[in-house]
């Protein structure tokens, strides 16, 4: 990237000094970043956003600065803000995709990266990350990645280089106010959750930590701990049975069935009471498109993360909840079932489903 002309720098500085609300903070912050003065660029960005809280390019630049400083959670906050303001922003889609990938949320990672790939089909980092997601999803139960495995190397290649920031500001900034991150997130992932007791062969994979997320020159302290160190020390136990997973819920009451579906609408566990298996399969297959619509609506209405869908039809009520690994839990009840009761039943079913998915993913 070219260095700005001194005359430009001078002009921007003058302008900003004269008028603190000037948009000159943005080219100036970019210039400082290019010159390695990230601290100053960051100050300029934060000050500029006080005057222009919905400035997309400023949030995008701030995300980049946080990312380069190793503050990934703050960078993700800024990318999320960018996407609320401008859902088609490539850098933010890519950044959020990588962030979700790091956190092991393949569904959200895929969602963001596929959108990014539509905007820039030739971007090698996005393609690499998508290949990795497909690989992870198709692999039955791979062991933890070793430091020099092909998979690890693939992710390393997908390291986001400092993404270019667009040179122009949005002409019609939306009205959503910017959310400032309250605190810096730790560099290390949260401690491994207590894992269910399972056979060694089915041991869940460690949380995904792509190497590209760590700065190349980052000190060893910020590198993720070795996979072995994060394994659960608990002894193994039998994995849950898919045919009886929701049995405790189905004993009585107005519940007609509970299904756990994968992202393709295939049944992973559960079934419908007093109905044949084909009805359950049909329900699973038909709900796929509806869920796509739900996610699209939540994304474009800027409502945050999708939490659930309730359908009240003539003959039944459905509560649909997202669980881990892109799966869905569907609770089907009689039409007369109390609304609040179904919510509680869905909470319970989602907890069971989460555990099941964790074991089998």
């Amino acid at each position: 990237m070219k260095t700005p002309a001194p005359a430009d720098l001078h002009r921007w500085s003058e302008e900003l000094a004269r008028n603190p609300g000037s948009l000159a903070f943005l080219p100036l912050a970019r210039a400082y970043r290019r010159m390695g003065r990230r601290d100053l660029a960051l100050q300029l960005c934060l000050r500029g956003l006080e005057h222009h809280p919905t400035h997309v390019e400023a949030h995008a630049l701030l995300a980049l600065l946080y990312f380069e400083a190793g503050e990934r959670a703050r960078a993700a906050d800024e990318w999320a803000t960018v996407l609320r303001l401008k859902p088609g922003n490539f850098e933010a889609l890519r950044g959020m995709g990588f962030r979700h990938l790091e956190q092991g949320d393949m569904g959200k990672a895929r969602q963001h990266l596929e959108r990014a790939a539509l905007i820039r089909p030739d971007d090698a980092t996005v393609q690499e990350a998508l290949r990795l997601i497909r690989h992870r999803e198709s692999a039955p139960a791979p062991g933890p990645p070793v430091p020099h495995s092909p998979e690890r190397r693939a992710v390393q290649r997908a390291a986001p280089v400092a993404p270019p920031v667009q040179q122009r500001q949005a002409t019609t900034p939306p009205t959503v106010p910017a959310a400032r991150p309250a605190s810096r997130a730790p560099n290390l992932p949260p401690a491994a959750r207590a894992q269910p007791r399972i056979e060694p062969a089915a041991r869940p994979q460690p949380r995904f930590e792509p190497a590209w997320w760590v700065e190349p020159d980052a000190p060893a302290a910020v590198a993720p701990p070795a996979p072995a160190a994060r394994r659960s020390p608990e002894p193994a136990a039998a994995p849950p049975d898919p045919t009886t997973l929701f049995e405790s819920l189905l004993g009585a009451g107005p519940l007609l069935g509970v299904l756990l579906l994968d992202r393709r609408g295939l049944i992973l566990a559960g079934g419908l009471r007093e109905r044949d298996a084909s009805t359950a399969e049909e329900l699973g297959a038909n709900l796929g498109g509806a869920i796509d619509e739900a996610i699209r609506a939540v994304t474009h209405l800027e409502l945050g993360t999708w939490r659930g869908l309730t359908l009240e039809a003539k003959r039944a009520v459905l509560q649909i909840r997202p669980v881990g690994a892109g799966a869905l839990v569907v609770v089907v009840a009689e039409r007369s079932a109390p609304a609040g009761w179904i919510v509680r039943a869905a909470d319970h079913a989602a907890a069971l489903a989460d555990r099941f998915v964790e074991v089998y993913s």
Partner: protein, 164 residues
Amino acid sequence: MRGADLSKLVAALRGPIELFVHDARVRITLLVTGSGQVLAQHGFTSSYEVMNVASLAASANAASNALAGLMRVDGWKHMHHAGSEQEIFLAPLRTPIEQLTLVVIFDSASSLGLVQFFFGRLAQEIDALPDLSGARGSEDGVAFERDLQRGLDRIFSPEGGSEA
């Protein structure tokens, strides 16, 4: 439009239009210039169709603008024709270089509302495209450092940013 500008514009529009096709779930899109020149297309199966639709869209655009002129209104936002199975949507699209016409054909997988909504997003994206002309280069390094320091002093001084 010059050839170099045209290729830059086509390259810059590719991503936003693909996103539009994906999000709005439309079957066919076509982007044409005022003279009927095709800049991008998605979903057509033969060049014959593309040429026909492009020339008819350019004509429709010109006729509608003429009609708007007669009625003394400032042009039109979009045109929509609903068929029994397919619907057509034509809308002017401002770009950094010239005004184009977007032709969209959709069926029950989409809706007029979705096409309108995502077209609005597309127009915003294109509006925000960076200037297609090149960026200016750097000059003398000493002057650059001097101006940089001066700027820093000014901005981060105790009175930083206040009126002189």
